[in-house]
Symmetry: C2
Subunit: 208 residues, 2 copies
């Protein structure tokens, strides 16, 4: 599992991408590394080195072409490789994610939701149906889905993750504030909003 591009660089690529969208909307064709660096408060040589990694050449006194750069980042990050996923837990967070229509632009397609609450099962949002959790193994196999977005309460998270893994799930985007135990071959990415808030607060408010 040798990554050509480090996670640190990938993180910055996503930031560059946000800025490039803005420039594109404003109709600006070229952008320079000092401009980007100033926005992100990083060193401009860093920006150039990152773009070099994508084999993206700039032009002296001009900068980089916004359109090319954006496409280059999108190719690298696999925007056009469709990634089908299920959401498990049709609660506040699960439904918010399901209703967000922008994920498909980034390669993420939510096909359906799963829940164990009989009231929720059967409901539909934007062509996305809520199924009973017991249907997960069958549908995961039939639709060839191996990615889930886990948005169940903390107390249920490990149990539900186990069930997902049994159902053939290989990638879990985990929104519960729990460190999941998964067998090797299964990958977890934690979206821990509480942890994120704590980091924010420490950096800016507490630890100064």
């Amino acid at each position: 599992m040798d990554q050509k591009i480090s996670q640190k660089v990938v993180e910055r690529l996503t930031l560059y991408h946000s800025i490039l969208i803005e420039y594109l909307e404003e109709g600006i064709e070229a952008i320079s590394s000092p401009q980007i660096a100033a926005r992100l408060k990083i060193d401009d040589s860093q920006v150039r080195k990152d773009f070099k990694l994508l084999n993206n050449a700039g032009k002296c006194r001009v900068g980089y072409l916004v359109k090319d750069l954006k496409e280059s980042i999108e190719n690298t990050l696999g925007f056009s490789a469709p990634k089908d996923a299920f959401i498990i837990g049709a609660g506040n967070v699960g439904l918010a994610l399901a209703k967000y229509d922008n994920f498909t632009n980034y390669g993420l397609n939510v096909l359906a939701l799963f829940d164990n609450d009989p009231i929720k099962v059967g409901m539909e949002f934007d062509n996305k149906q809520i199924f009973h959790i017991s249907k997960l193994p069958n549908l995961a196999e039939r639709l060839n889905v191996d990615i889930v977005i886990l948005t169940v309460p903390r107390q249920q998270a490990q149990k539900v993750a186990d069930f997902a893994v049994e159902s053939g799930i290989k990638y879990i985007w985990n929104f519960s504030p729990v460190i999941l135990r998964v067998p090797s071959g299964v990958n977890v990415w934690n979206e821990n909003l509480i942890a994120s808030f704590l980091q924010f607060a420490y950096k800016n408010i507490i630890g100064s």
Copy 2:
């Protein structure tokens, strides 16, 4: 602004905290650095060095006391320092965050929401009212609030952030996928779920 504890360490402290909650719930009194390290797939010496920073001593052959360690992390990260905040944008994400009753345990108190949609203004959730955005300057001053959680659509984010800054806001937890321009003295923490998904996908699915 010299931080005694680096952001990297703070990030791990939040992870340790999740694990400690689990141990506490299971009634286990002590935990060792190799145990924690195994859960997080990091080096055990790293764990010990982090705990040393908090002046938390362990005991040979036993480990660290779960209760002490948890309190120590909570003190360091300022759990008991109450931080009042407003949510701007009572949409899918804003409401999900407003309904989450667990933030107060970590020091974050959401006092109210703001929106510009007349249908939403006046509604109430869990004692949290939705005010018209025009009320922000007044309420921020009266309630002495300088933290906002920004959950408006991408296109409005910069404009609304500008207004928040004019209203005296100093800390912005930004959920919109936009790099905000703010004057110095104002601090932004980005919670970019799209960017996070891209990192997840690159690490595990694309770039392998």
